[in-house]
């Protein structure tokens, strides 16, 4: 039993072969893509493996502490930032193989021409609670 994060990137992931930006798809293709995502999440709810799914707006700022009594400093957004996260899905699965299988399935969402987009997803294990028995 382990939780994994499947991370989608706006930017920063390797570009899959034959990549077509979403704004070049037909509206029906976009609807089919969105439907696939919903169905995928619904399926995971049924299998008891779904934890969370969220999308992130592309615009954000950088914030940091600037000393006692001063407002936090903000900066950005930086157009050159390499990595831009688009959203995530968190799953709770029995093993790594299952996590891989699901990530592969999510990456097969349909795009232009109804063909799988082969999007690269980043799969990251959660840090767990320490096991009770260690020695």
């Amino acid at each position: 039993m382990a939780k994994y994060l499947m991370l989608k990137h706006y930017r920063g992931a390797p570009c899959p072969e034959g990549f077509v930006p979403m704004d070049q798809w037909t509206p029906e293709e976009i609807s089919a893509h969105v439907q696939y995502m919903h169905d995928f999440a619904a399926k995971l709810e049924k299998t008891g493996e779904f934890v969370d799914a969220q999308g992130l707006a592309p615009e954000g700022v950088w914030v940091r502490y600037d000393g006692e009594g001063r407002p936090p400093v903000t900066d950005g957004p930086f157009a050159e930032t390499k990595d831009l996260i688009a959203g995530w899905m968190v799953i709770d699965v029995d093993n790594y193989e299952r996590a891989l299988e699901l990530a592969g399935e999510l990456s097969a969402a349909p795009g232009a021409g109804g063909k799988p987009i082969h999007e690269w997803l980043e799969l990251r294990p959660f840090m767990a609670a320490p096991p009770t028995i260690t020695e």
Binding site: M1, K3, E45, K46, T47, G48, E49, F50, V51, D52, D92, V93, D94, P125, M127, A128, A129, P130, P131, T132, I133, E135
Partner: protein
């Protein structure tokens, strides 16, 4: 109201319903409903016969649910028919329930969830909170698990080993969330030990008690992990240790050694040492040899290398480690520890940093980072002097 008593009655009430002809999935739902009702009603109106009360209410819930069902025909049969007293459910029924909930057709996470609900009497919400998943997800996991085992009859003996693996998983999940899964695992294993005389059941119960006994000393006030050697042994629960040792000795006397008894023996040797320095590492190495014969697990051999390092010196430990696969989890951490003991602080610091990067839980990562920082501070101070 005694919630522990309430929950301990869960398996026997459930088996009564199944004996009367209710299918497992529906019976399990009905028992949950009865438990909820008990929590509501008992504080003001405690029953004289707790189990009888639960059976009556659960049976009525089951009939209500069946009535709402489309299976009209079956319902009528059941309502017409005064529940046959049948053979009184015996301790074997509880055992069968453990087997069913740990059935090999279930994935580990489903078996854990089903065991906690059907045998442990926990609610779906409690289980979901303990495992940090949404309640809806846990509800689906449990109902799928019930469907998976729905064709399985309660009358065939299963394999105790599968049940023990499930209980071990529950125990090892740790202490996250409000629900104390470790204590719950001990309760369920104790209950299993009452209906099964398999020495490995006793071995697992002893193992759990011996580890649980050290719980208070295991976490520092700042939340960090305290390694065994640095724990305040005065904070160990001597009652739990004594019970664990007693159970283990009785199990070992039956001469049917298994991996849980061997693990418990190692835990008992640690528990038995008044100070870390007085630990009987030679005997611990022997038990690791025994354990390696029983399980052939690389993790066991890794732990054995630590024990060899204590029994025969860090050089011997490093030699034992050199025979193992360097990609094993915690290999770098063990190597770091042995290098420090051997006086090679620079290598140890580097390995602690490497181990922290590979840690799979936060407390361990922080602990290893602190070890690296401790050595680096010493090394820098040495250079400046």
């Amino acid at each position: 109201m005694d919630e522990a008593l309430l929950r301990s009655l869960t398996p026997s009430v459930l088996t009564v319903l199944v004996r009367r002809g209710a299918d497992f999935a529906a019976a399990e739902d009905a028992v949950q409903d009865a438990l909820v009702e008990a929590v509501r009603v008992w504080p003001d109106d405690p029953p004289r016969d707790a189990k009888g009360w639960l059976v009556t209410v659960a049976w009525r819930k089951f009939l209500d649910a069946t009535r709402a069902d489309t299976a009209r025909r079956r319902r009528e049969d059941l309502v017409e028919e005064e529940p046959a007293p049948g053979p009184a459910p015996s301790v074997d029924d509880t055992l069968q329930l453990y087997f069913l909930c740990a059935h090999p057709s279930l994935t580990p996470s489903s078996a854990v969830a089903l065991t906690l609900r059907a045998v442990g009497g926990l609610t779906t919400r409690q289980i979901a909170q303990a495992y940090l998943v949404p309640e809806a997800t846990m509800a689906q996991r449990i109902s799928r698990a019930k469907r998976t085992v729905s064709g399985t009859r309660l009358d065939r003996p299963g394999d105790v080993a599968t049940v023990l693996r499930v209980l071990y998983l529950v125990f090892n999940e740790g202490y996250s969330g409000d629900l104390d899964l470790a204590a719950e695992a001990i309760r369920l294993t104790r209950q299993l030990a009452a209906v099964s005389d398999h020495p490995e059941v006793a071995g697992l119960l002893a193992l759990m008690l011996l580890h649980h006994a050290r719980r208070a000393a295991r976490i520092a006030p700042d939340g960090g992990l305290v390694p065994l050697a640095e724990q305040d042994r005065g904070r160990w629960d001597t009652g739990a240790i004594a019970e664990g040792v007693r159970i283990l000795q009785a199990a070992l006397a039956r001469d049917r050694l298994g991996e849980f008894q061997a693990q418990a023996a190692i835990a008992a040797l640690h528990a038995d040492a008044p100070t870390a320095a007085e630990t009987d590492w030679v005997q611990i190495v022997e038990w690791y040899d025994e354990l390696a014969r029983l399980t052939d697990s690389p993790v066991v051999r890794l732990n054995r290398a630590v024990a060899v390092g204590e029994a025969d010196g860090p050089r011997a430990g490093l030699a034992a480690l050199a025979e193992l696969d360097g990609t094993l989890p915690r290999y770098a951490a063990v190597s770091a520890y042995l290098h420090e003991r051997a006086g090679d602080l620079r290598t140890a610091a580097r390995l602690y940093t490497e181990a922290a990067g590979k840690a799979t839980d936060l407390l361990e990562r922080d602990h290893l980072t602190r070890q690296a920082a401790r050595l680096n501070t010493r090394l820098h101070a040495g250079l400046d002097a």
